[in-house]
Symmetry: C2
Subunit: 351 residues, 2 copies
C-alpha cells in the first residue's frame, strides 16, 4: 500500500510551496522578514507533507544539538539497575530531566562514564565530541569532580552543578541542605528530643557537610551539645546499620536519629527494630531524600523531601536559556521541605 516513503526534506517543502529552500528555513525557525502570505503558504506545505527538520542536519549546519547530557557513573548505575532503584534518586533525576527537556523541544541523554578512573577525560571527551550537547548536568558527586568540571569549562559547554555551591564555571544549584537539616533537627527538638543522633553521608560530598552543619546549628540554638552524636556512613544500607548501632551503643539516652539518606534511614529502622526499640515510640527517625520507598516501610518515614526532580528541571531550563559563556555567579537554591509521617513522635518520658 504505502510506498516506502522517502524522508521529507526542506527541499520537498520548498518545491511544494513554490518558494526557495531558504524561505522554508526561515519559516521553520520563526525568522523575520517573511511575508505573512508566504509564511502561511509554507506552513500549509509543511503540514501537508508532515515535514520535521532533521536534528542531525540542523546540528551539522551549526545550530544547537537540542541535547542535554546527564553524566552518570557507569559502575554505580549498574548497581542501581540491579537493586538500588527506587531507593536512590537517579530515576527521579532522570524523569525530571526528560520531562523538562521534552517540554522545551530538547532531549536528555544519559552518558555512562567511569568516573573513578582517569578515563573520565577520555570517555567524557568522546561523548562530548560525538554528541555535542548544548548542556551537561552534573549530580553529586560528579558536580565536584575537578576533572569533569575542568573539561567542560575548557570546551565551553554550559553545565549545571547540582549539589555544589563552590565558585567557578558551571551553574551551581543546591537543595538547601543546611536549612533542611536544621528544619528536621528543630522539629525533633520541638517534639522534646534532646539527644538527636546524625548519620552523615561521606565527606567527599559537600552536601554531607551542609547537612551536618544544619543539624549542629539547630542543636546549638537549643543549647544542646552534639558530642558523640555524629556517625558517618557511605549512603549504603550496611553503613547505615553500623552507624545506627554505634550511635545507639554509645548513647543509651538517644531518642532520635536523622539519617542523611533513605537507605541509611531504613537500615537504622531495622537496627532499632532488632534491638527491640519501637519507632517512633522509643526512637524517632527522619531521613533525607524522600524517595518513594520510605512511604511503604513500617512505619512510613518522616523525611526531608529533596526536590530532586524540580532541581534538575531548573538546571535544564537554565542550560537551555543560558548563553554559552554567560556568568553564573548566583547559586540557585531550591528549597527542601519536611514530610511528616509516622516515624516521628514526641520524645519518650524516661523513668
Amino acid at each position: 500500500m504505502a510506498r516506502v516513503r522517502k524522508t521529507v526534506t526542506i527541499r520537498d517543502v520548498a518545491e511544494d510551496a513554490g518558494v526557495s529552500l531558504q524561505t522554508v528555513s526561515r519559516v521553520v525557525n520563526d525568522g523575520p522578514n517573511v511575508r505573512p502570505q508566504v509564511r502561511d503558504k509554507v506552513r500549509a506545505a509543511i503540514d501537508r507533507l508532515g515535514y520535521v527538520p532533521s536534528l542531525a542536519a540542523q546540528r551539522m549546519s551549526g545550530s544547537r544539538s537540542y541535547i542535554i547530557l546527564a553524566i552518570n557513573d557507569r559502575e554505580r548505575t549498574l548497581a542501581d539497575w540491579r537493586e538500588r532503584l527506587g531507593t536512590d534518586w537517579v530515576d527521579q533525576m532522570l524523569l525530571g530531566g526528560i520531562l523538562t527537556c521534552s517540554q522545551h523541544g530538547y532531549r536528555m541523554m544519559v552518558e555512562l562514564v567511569d568516573t573513578h578512573s582517569d578515563h573520565v577525560e577520555r570517555e567524557l571527551g568522546a561523548a562530548l565530541s560525538a554528541l555535542q550537547p548544548d548542556g551537561v548536568i552534573l549530580t553529586p558527586p560528579h558536580s565536584e569532580n575537578r576533572l569533569i568540571t575542568q573539561l567542560l569549562a575548557e570546551r565551553r559547554i554550559p553545565f549545571a552543578r547540582i549539589g555544589s555551591n563552590a565558585p567557578g564555571p558551571g551553574i551551581p544549584l543546591t537543595m538547601g541542605d543546611e536549612g533542611a537539616a536544621h528544619l528536621a533537627a528543630t522539629r525533633l527538638i520541638e517534639l522534646g528530643h534532646r539527644r538527636i543522633g546524625m548519620i552523615a553521608g561521606p565527606s567527599q560530598y559537600s552536601l554531607s557537610g551542609w547537612r551536618v552543619d544544619g543539624w549542629k546549628r539547630a542543636l546549638a540554638e537549643a543549647g544542646l551539645p552534639h558530642d558523640g552524636l555524629l556517625e558517618v556512613g557511605d549512603f549504603g544500607y550496611e553503613s547505615g546499620a553500623s552507624a545506627a548501632t554505634a550511635l545507639l551503643d554509645r548513647n543509651p539516652d538517644l531518642t532520635a536519629i536523622i539519617a542523611s539518606n533513605d537507605q541509611m534511614a531504613l537500615a537504622a529502622l531495622e537496627t532499632a527494630r532488632d534491638r527491640g526499640l519501637r519507632v517512633p515510640d522509643d526512637l524517632s527517625l527522619i531521613s533525607f531524600d524522600n524517595t518513594p520507598i520510605v512511604r511503604f516501610s513500617q512505619p512510613p518515614l518522616t523525611a526531608v523531601d529533596q526536590p530532586i526532580a524540580e532541581t534538575v528541571s531548573r538546571a535544564v531550563e537554565q542550560l537551555i536559556a543560558r548563553e554559552p559563556d554567560g556568568d553564573n555567579d548566583a547559586v540557585i537554591e531550591v528549597a527542601a521541605g519536611l514530610v511528616e509521617r509516622a516515624s516521628t513522635a514526641p520524645a519518650p518520658v524516661r523513668a
Copy 2:
C-alpha cells in the same frame, strides 16, 4: 591558557597523518583495504588529536544514527515522576536499556508521547523524523497500540514489542507471564492453599490475560475451582485495595492472593492488615514485578521477578543486530522467576 579549541574533524586527522580524509574514514570504520602501516599512522594521529566522529555528521551521510528510542506515555511519566517511581518499572527499563545501548556504542532516548489521543501519529512521527532512530522499543501497553506499530512498520523502523506475542511487524518479546503465574499459583498450592484469589491487571494488556491463564491452569491441575476468585484492577494502588476487599468479602475462606503487580499487592497487604489479617499467617501474598519497593514492606513480599531490565536489554541487542527488514517470526521469551520472601507461608489450618 587553553585556547578555545575548535572541534577536531576528520580533516584535521587526515592532514596530521598525511593521508586523505577518506582513508581516515576507513580506519575509523574498520574498513578493509588499508595498509597496516597506514592504519597505525592514522590511529596515532587520531589518538594524538583526540578525534571522535560527530554523530550528527555520520547520520547525515547515511550511516546509522546510533539512537534507540523508547516510547513512553507523557501523562504516565508525569505521574511516575511525582509518586510512582520505584514502584513501577519504567526506571528499570530505562537503566537496563541505557546500559545496554552504552555497551554497544548506542544511546537510548526516551520519547514522551501522548499515547491516548490520536496525536500519537503526529507526535511520534515528528520524533522519528527528527531523530531518525535505528530502532524503537515499545513497552506495554504501547506494544499493542495499532497506531504506533503501524506507523513504525510503515516507516520501516525496526522495533521491539515487549509484552506482546501477536504476529505482525516488530520483534515480540515476552517475560513468560503465563508460566510465571502458574509457578506462583503452584507454589501456593504446594503450601496447602486451596482458595487462591487473583487480582488481575486491566484487560487491554495481553499480559493481564496471560497471568490469569497461568493461575487458572495451576488451579485446574490441582482440581481446584476458580469461581469468585478473580478481580480486575488497573495496576493502581486504589484498584488493588478495592479488589482485595472484594475478594476477601466474597471469600471468607481465602488464604492467598496473587496480585498482578507490586502496587496492587502492597494495597492488598494494607487491606489485609486493616482487616486484622496477618500476612503471611492468615493470608499469603505474591506479587508480580518485584520492583525494589517490595523488599522493604512489612513483611517483604514474595514476588514474581519480571526480568524487565534483561528483556529490554535483549530488545536493544536485537534491534542493533537486526536488518531493517528482517523477519521476526520467533517470540523471544525471557523467563521470570519467583523470589520467595516473607509474605508466603503454609495455609492456615482452619478450626
